[in-house]
Symmetry: C2
Subunit: 133 residues, 2 copies
DNA sequence: CTACCTGCAAACTTTTTGCAGCCCA
DNA sequence: TGGGCTGCAAAAAGTTTGCAGGTAG
């Protein structure tokens, strides 16, 4: 069961969309929308930033692309400064704390694999809370 | 060795700052800056939104408060839609993919503890990359 | 008193959207 | 040829900042 959602209704291709996706697939740098826009503009000088945003949204909704930071247009704050995890309900938008001690072993594992110095990590869960199931 | 940073230079208290921190500590709802502003305004009607932002930043820099989504003012995109983890270098800002299979066991553990339906998770690591150490 | 902090409002940054025309199927 | 897609520019949304005056220490 693939998650193609119900976006398959009416949609066409466009040279812009193809180029945006190809450019994003062809880089490992996790560009911002603006960076991607500037890169794409090298090949298609009259493309607009609005088109880049529109297509990134379109691609994200179809699961063809990943948006880091989950397009949070604003920040949420937590009075508990100790590192802990969160569960965000995709139904009602509420954020819950998740009990349990942070897994330090995750950091060690990444440090071993990459050789980087890992100082912290963040872990967020998404799904449906008790009220929204 | 506590991470008090070098923010201890010159700073005073203010009724506003105390109230903002107390209000945030007194809720479990992970409010946005605007929500916090409206809550605080109940007790201090002339406080400004700018003051709330200024103090949240101040508190975050001192580690007294946690900002979810790490105050990312813009999103980054990844052409690889499969769930995978990222390492963000705090030195140069670059984002790297982290190899390794997503740990599905984390989701099961949270589902067991909360009774929520866990559909996905995100895991981000922070630290210093090879070039920045 | 000093200089940090505040309220206010304007500026800034990132993202979205209305509109007229283009172009893919 | 219809209607989804585009370029353009203005609007929206969230956050930051300059300024003049207030206030903690």
């Amino acid at each position: 069961m693939k998650n193609e959602e119900n976006h398959n209704s009416k949609s066409r291709r466009s040279r812009q969309r193809d180029l945006i996706l190809a450019t994003l697939r062809g880089t490992k740098s996790h560009p911002t929308a603006l960076e991607l826009y500037e890169k794409v503009r090298g090949e298609m000088p009259r493309i607009s930033l609005g088109t880049v945003y529109r297509n990134l949204k379109w691609l994200r909704e179809r699961g063809e692309v990943l948006e880091l930071d989950y397009g949070a247009t604003f920040s949420r704050f937590d009075g508990n400064a100790a590192n802990h995890y969160h569960f965000t309900c995709e139904g009602c938008g509420r954020v819950f704390d998740v009990a349990g001690p942070p897994a330090q072993s995750l950091e060690r594992s990444v440090a071993r694999d990459t050789g980087f110095r890992v100082l912290s990590h963040r872990l967020e869960f998404y799904g449906l809370c008790a009220d929204c199931q």
